[in-house]
Amino acid sequence: MNKLNVSLSPHVKNKDSVPKIMYGVIIALIPALLVSVYFFGLDALRVQAIAIVSCILFEWLIQKFLIKGQNTIPDGSAALTGMLLAFNVPANLPWWIMVIGALVAIGVGKMSFGGLGKNPFNPALVGRVFMLISFPVQMTSWPKVSVLNFTGIDAATGATPLAIMKEGLANGEKVSDIMNSMPTSLVDMMTGQMGGSLGEISAIALLIGGIYMLWKKIITIHIPLSIFASIVLFTGIMNLINPGAYAGPAFHLLTGGVMLGAIFMATDMVTSPMSKKGMWIYGIGIGVITVAIRVWGAYPEGISFAILIMNGFVPLINNSMKPKLFGVVKEKK
């Protein structure tokens, strides 16, 4: 007879696994990826490919030669980081900047802490913010969208709606006038016909991905909803107080990286809180900081910084937001 396996209970396990979660997120990113190819042509694919390949390569090299551990590529997290990193840059980004960004994201953002699950900050955002600060020109020269242009000729560049808004307001123009002169309508912002990073442009495609992840129970609604709600509330109040100086909630929700950030970046399990209550606080923090940077800060967009800042608060949130114990009545202090 065969020898019997002896192990402690439970003897069954659900079908979930780390790779399933990672590849689930990758699948959820596909609608937005298709939109990026539709509007930015093969450039989008080129940037994607460079980012994914470099992230995988750097993780493999670091794991093999520095950490000297098992190959971690099959878990899918390196590919996912690469994909998200590419989503956060202009589609015409020079390849070498992308490679440097990937090195920072994987090397500094992830592997220096010990790899998957150990990093306090979202690796893709670490890479993105590094590139934004180091290469501000290349990181903010946005190609104009052009439908299904596969000629490969560099398209002209233009500003994002957020940058147009910021500049207009700085010049003392009114929100309504800026909106009227803007080449993109709110509907364009929904579908993705606007300047911006490769993967952030189409709110609809990103929402489809979000719904897929909710359905597959990869994420819960708490973080995206609290980010959206706090942005709507914050910008709504500002807009009501002075409609001339502050853009409304719809504009803030649909432009820049809010959709991508709230659905895909802030929900990263490793760097977000571990209790539902904590998720609300984290999400509200991201929403408020994002709007504050957009309205008063030096950058037109702030969600990357907002998420990274709130990542830093996660340990504190986790420590103070413990689940309620069964059968324990909180002692009165």
């Binding site: 019997l4 439970p10 003897h11 059968g327």
Partner: protein
């Protein structure tokens, strides 16, 4: 909306293949091995010796204290020897080995199947019979029933809760007895109520057993004060604390007992054992065991004499499948894997579960990705990932402060973990060390 417990829980695939298989009696084995420690508490003291002739139902070991239970011969025959034998715990335990030569029962045991509804015995008489019959909880924890029914002074109880949840996947023993011995359950419950002077009882059944709910609800009207409550299917609803929360919305305090919220919980199989002991003088010498598994040819529910080797049960279910990788005594979530199939059925054996090679392998372990699912599914509100980390760093004081002793070892955390981390293994290790520390502090 069906009732359930509000916090945590998982819903593993039910796989109740044996649910429609009527209970069959397993033919008598040639030999039985009856361990003296089949219950929580002190082991029983043998009162027979080598060469003694025993009948079915003869007392062979006396309770070794108040928290202990009598043990009776499950067959008639001759005591071969008293020796240390491997049981399902993985340890060798002192056991009475009896060579079977027939099935001659003690004369005072009433073997007539007619149901006796008479409830005229006094609470003391009922408790004495339960104690004499060696009745222990048949849900798996095997806590002596007479101890549970002796309500300490200063405590008042107002509800008996009968645990008919059977939340463990695969197992169907309780389901079958509900269908086949419904009146015995009701009378047993009434006896428990009388013994504890309580006039309300609730039988909690999960909604995946609609036939049992229907049947028991119908006949419950013939008995006083017994209510059937259908529950939403959710593991671990069969945990005492979760069940009380589900049916009565009362929360057993941390470190406390059901008694602290006015309840006594008994398993549905125990209710039948109580009925048999009190009305029929029949000690606990047999029980229903589910033998099942995906590769098992014929999943069945068997009425088995205590001390029968698991091998015989597996034979009755079509033999041990070729691709067997693991054999579990009990359910898949809390049962114990055995190293050898030649272990005796004891009072706590609710199932023999056979996994094939593929099912018996643990999944690859990845780094924790801090998804927090282990905390979302914990019915006790514990943070499994945190307890695991603390246990790994051997910080026992902190582990105790994080309420590690509240863990009911249901395994929902390990079941859920996408990184495949065996969280409960670490927590168990921590629990056993912390409980040793607590004990040494008391002494």
């Amino acid at each position: 909306m069906l009732k359930t417990f509000p916090k945590g829980g998982v819903h593993p695939a039910e796989n109740k293949m044996a649910a429609t298989a009527e209970i069959q009696s397993l033919p008598l084995p040639k030999q039985v091995v009856i361990p003296l420690a089949q219950h929580i508490g002190a082991p029983a003291q043998a009162v027979v010796k080598r060469g003694d002739v025993v009948k079915t139902g003869t007392l062979i070991a006396k309770a070794g204290g108040f928290v202990s239970a009598n043990i009776h011969s499950s067959v008639s025959g001759k005591v071969k020897k008293i020796d240390n034998v491997l049981d399902s715990s993985g340890y060798k335990k002192p056991s009475v080995i009896i060579d079977v030569d027939g099935d001659e029962w003690e004369e005072n045991i009433d073997r007539d199947p007619a149901v006796i509804k008479d409830l005229s015995k006094t609470p003391e008489e009922i408790k004495q019979k339960i104690m004499d019959g060696g009745i222990v909880g048949l849900g798996g924890a095997t806590f002596p029933t007479h101890v549970k029914l002796s309500v300490p002074e200063g405590k008042t109880i107002d509800h008996i809760v009968i645990n008919a949840v059977e939340c463990e996947p695969y197992l169907t023993a309780d389901h079958r007895v509900m269908l086949e011995k419904a009146h015995e359950i009701m009378i047993g419950t009434s006896l428990i109520m009388k013994a504890t002077a309580v006039n309300k009882a609730i039988i909690g059944i999960e909604n995946n057993k609609p036939d049992a709910i229907e049947l028991l609800s119908k006949i419950a009207k013939e008995y006083q004060g017994i209510e059937i409550v259908a529950l939403k299917v959710q593991y671990p609803q069969g945990g005492e604390k979760q069940l009380i929360k589900a049916v009565l919305d009362r929360e057993v305090p941390s470190g406390g007992l059901p008694l602290d919220v006015g309840c006594v919980v008994q398993n549905v199989g125990t209710a039948i054992a109580v009925y048999e002991a009190v009305q029929k003088n029949k000690p606990l010498i047999e029980r229903v065991v589910t033998v099942t598994g995906k590769s098992v040819k014929k999943p069945i529910n068997l009425m088995v004499r205590i001390g029968t080797s698991a091998n015989e049960l597996i034979e009755a279910a079509g033999g041990l499948p070729e691709d067997t990788g693991k054999v579990v005594n009990g359910g898949p979530m809390m049962g114990k894997a055995v190293s050898d199939t030649d272990v005796p059925v004891t009072k706590g054996t609710s199932g023999i579960l056979i996994f094939n090679q593929k099912e018996s392998k643990r999944t690859k372990v990845y780094n924790c990705i801090r998804c927090a699912r282990c905390t979302f599914v914990c019915p006790q509100g514990l943070e499994a990932f945190n307890l695991k980390n603390i246990a790994e760093s051997n910080d026992w004081e902190k582990l105790e402060n994080e309420h590690v002793m509240d863990c009911i070892e249901c395994g929902s955390c390990s079941y859920t973990c996408p990184a495949g981390v065996p969280l409960l293994d670490y927590i168990r290790l921590g629990k056993s060390t912390v409980s040793q520390i607590i004990r040494s502090r008391k002494n």
